[in-house]
Point group: D2
Chain length 355, copies 4
């Protein structure tokens, strides 16, 4: 199952250490002028080696448009985007050829498929998300034309958590003003320091990404099994290392009283909105016009720069030596991935709504 | 979008205050002996009026098998289960005919469909989950034959949260030993008391349900966009009032270090397992044979037994008077719903795996 | 696989000799006023016992609306229609309990499912098409509002074939003026006579149904694997006893020259159309605004009123005695079925087109 | 809609005169050794310029494996095959930039998408079938391992029709012994002569392809809306220029009597089969173990090598001059396309069956 979406479908293919990764986008409306540079910008936000706190692996992640765009406009035919692999040091993985790395997909892929591509995870590698980001970038452009903007940012690295966020900072400039992609500068500095320390110690750390979608019309969402937040949640849970999804008031609402978290309607100059937004912009699975807000929890990267005990395919104890180049914390690079999948879901649901 | 699943598909239909609610199950293997009583038992765990802490509305929720079962065995043809509505006091809803209830789906359904069935929510009512529970009960029976057992229980009501749970209590008898469905008796008593108080005050309270699936073989899950936890998450987020989903270590992993939460493999008498289970039984989207664990957060019921301010379709201020019979806290009745959808997903993925 | 369609999905359930047959329609737009009588009229055109040349089995085929319609309008929720079975003489089938009837689905259902519902075919019975006709009747109403009309009629019974058809006869009154549903009166009389003779001899005969859809806008159809004629063909090939589908010039075009069958465009008062219509209203899989025309071939009914040799489940020779009440020729009753599925496909594609 | 299949899904992309055409195959089982040469052989049977009676356009149609194959075996990940375009003489199409070619998709694509890729049809070009053939070739290899063989051949060119076919000639050697791909040598010679004459006259001619699938187990097919013949029909109707599909006795059964065309079962040494095969190997939508037979009708190529009248986008009369290099008759090159789609459907249904 490598296809996501209903009206707008993306089919993902490719693996780390093969020819490349790519995506076929089906259902994109004809006649849309594509901004190729904007796609590359999003890919650059995801690519390895972009800052001192990401992996030092180098990939330019330059994409090719294989189909579906003619004279810079979409034709209505499937758009295939392909990103060739470059810096594939397969030798980095020889030492783990027979070992099951802890908390990786080695064991389960072996169990399911009877073999696995040991070179950097193969299909289970987060490298495949490069294709998603390229596809999502086109969807983001399309949504912007409809007045819908998606912004994601880091709101947690380890125990450092932004509990409140100044809304004026929720813009791309603030978010990208630091390598962590946390718009709160002071917090970002602390987070960056934490990531540096953790890397030095050969360890990794988790974090969380928050997303906010504004300009959404009333009526996106397809009850009962196509609720907008369920589609967003499913997409987010498809990202490597994600362990949880919450929207609006989220998990905190489990401890709340109805009288405190009901969102009351008000009519402001003929425009109906809610005074609070514990609903996170979605009620009964359908957008209500308020900002859509959700949070995604990422576990720490499983590959450590310290020796780890494990077993091999024969069940024998082995020690996995630290090798290769890896991220100490994925959330800074996860920001464009969250945006991409959110954009693909939102565009899909916009098309579904028939608005 | 009223269909869930890939190989095993359930299509939901019906609404509160219409003829009834039902479900068509497509893809159920032929030749399975159905235990009709066991279906009714699960429906009884969901039905209103079952205890002092649920709504006092009365429905027997007796189901009819309309198709797909011949001489008590499944035939491979679609199984239609239908549950007629009984205690539909539509007059209870006349007072809200034109009002948008806070944090309900009134406003969004009106916006999307240009009208709404004001009688108790219509299609957006949790009554539709009766059909899901009936369908899930058959899937639970089928899974049990394969050695897979699903148990859900309440682990949080408001601020009362079971942080640790004695594994020996994770059985149906302990869970159903009290009306809250929390297997920890002492905690259950506190929770019940809290719900009673909250009801007296005319308020409502949120909570959380935890699920645990044991006996799962290695290899269920379909990368990339059919990861097992993503399918479970999507199903859970389809349940009314759910605000969040996490699996394994969940949101806590955002603050963890890799060295603390990596699950190390061990070979125990030729059986490979992990020493810890922060992965929640799923790695790379595929089951690894360990128990699958996840948690679902529910918001407080939006309908309060106290007056609430709102506006009507004309944008005029109105006060919604407390009327009707409602749950002060949904999690006790949500337990069989969580089990049902989990069972439908697990059976679907079992069939998908081709094991 | 009991679901047909993309935006408008119908899920079929039920079997002959069970509780009844039904259908769930998902994706039907909200706010459409349903004409329940018109649904019954189409069911009456399909029901057994309607004339001297159909089976004498009696069913009133009265349908129930179980969901999705509130105050006579569609709500956007799934519409469940249910048609209880009535005249189910299961004893008629005791004599074939263990035998494989020639050219029926007995052998293949047994092979696939390990058992079969021997009472009149169970799920493989054409009785299930009653649900399709009910669903299609609503779609026909909806399409009429958009100016799209679907008419099917019999153009062949055995060797009697209408090679030319006066267009002025292509209306419901002419088609239903005789029990054969062939609008050419003289031909209809011959066909009726042929069917009577064949019935007398205990034999059955095949035939063909032609359909014509007018008022179709340009642009319905989804290349590459959702071509409009491919969707229509797939739907028609889903009808019991159908052996072939052709559209526009059909099989005759295999022997034609391009210079003779190319449809040349002309501009008639600003309206672009083609001078001929060998394309059958569809070019490149997309409607071109001309009438859509197709033909469907039906084999003779496999159940004969004469003894037939066969084998039973043990491989022993048996003779199947003629019993029960059956159609000597299915095409008169197939007319509303062809219309129904065509309507469901056309409405689905209209919704897909976003026009 | 550019995806075909259920368990085995192929997503097609690309267009004539772009970078190339390709396909992503999802759901292919892991661990299958792929014979890359056999893929190229099927592509060579489809490619232009292969004989004197096909278009003289030259493409080597060399394919690249972009993903999903590691150390020559399938990995379970999506397989992307890409075939770069080579001989794209876009100037050949300048003269028709604004004109609607008769019986092409120019007018409908313009109507649906608001523009069209005038260079050789763009997405509507039969060039896209190169990707299908590559995908189908892998499926054919996989099916052969299961004992299932698919053979297609030409049985009609214009009025020349093989009414009977010696079964001993139904092998690849006989079929490919002549450029027409009709295994009856004498008939093939006549057909070749006819095609040469027609080309000389600047005209084109239709034809038909017959397919025969042997070694099929009992039980493939998914009632009701996934009948095996309906899936095959839908796939065939997706091929450019196809106007009709029939299986088993086909359209001739419309004029038959039941007593003449019922297939009687017999037990031959414990193996149950039918004495005749009017059912075409499929009963009730499910394979019965007999050879599956079907026929596909192709219209004459719409592009003629003689001037044709038409209109342009402004509705003005234009004359389309003969230009470019085109096939006088498509059926010889359609043979591997029919095989490819049949193989994809059969493999999909094999996987669906769970056998």
């Amino acid at each position: 199952m490598n296809t996501l979406g209903n009206r707008l479908k993306i089919t993902s293919f490719g693996e780390s250490h093969g020819n490349g990764v790519g995506v076929v986008i089906d259902g994109f409306p004809a006649g849309f002028k594509v901004d190729l540079e904007a796609i590359q910008q999003q890919l650059d936000r995801r690519k390895p080696g972009q800052s001192a706190i990401t992996t030092q692996r180098k990939e330019t992640d330059t994409f090719q448009v294989q189909s579906g765009v003619f004279e810079q406009s979409t034709t209505g035919a499937p758009i295939c985007l392909f990103i060739p692999n470059e810096d594939q040091n397969s030798k980095d993985y020889d030492h783990i050829k027979d070992a099951f790395r802890p908390s990786h997909a080695d064991f389960t892929y072996q169990g399911k498929y009877g073999h696995r591509d040991y070179r950097g995870g193969g299909r289970s590698s987060a490298r495949v998300t490069a294709g998603w980001v390229a596809a999502g970038a086109i969807a983001q452009q399309w949504l912007l034309q409809k007045g819908i903007e998606i912004l994601a940012f880091v709101d947690q690295v380890g125990e450092l958590k932004c509990t409140e966020m100044d809304e004026t900072l929720l813009n791309l400039a603030s978010i990208d003003s630091n390598p962590v992609r946390c718009p709160n500068e002071a917090m970002a500095a602390e987070m960056e320091e934490l990531i540096r320390e953790i890397r030095k110690s050969g360890d990794t750390v988790g974090g969380a990404v928050q997303a906010r979608i504004v300009g959404v019309p009333v009526g996106l969402g397809e009850p009962l099994f196509g609720k907008l937040h369920a589609a967003l949640g499913m997409a987010m849970l498809s990202i490597n290392a994600v362990k949880g999804f919450e929207y609006g008031g989220g998990f905190d609402m489990a401890s709340a009283r109805g009288s405190m978290v009901n969102d009351h309607f008000e009519d402001v100059d003929g425009h109906i909105q809610t005074k609070t937004n514990f609903s996170g912009g979605i009620q009964g699975g359908i957008s209500n016009g308020m900002p859509i807000t959700f949070r995604v929890a990422f576990k720490p990267v499983a590959t450590l720069m310290q020796p780890q005990d494990s077993i091999n395919e024969l069940g024998e104890s082995v020690t996995i030596a630290p090798k290769g180049r890896h991220d100490p914390c994925v959330v800074p690079r996860a920001v464009p991935i969250v945006e991409a999948l959110a954009a693909l879901v939102m565009m899909d649901y916009y098309l579904l709504s028939g608005i």
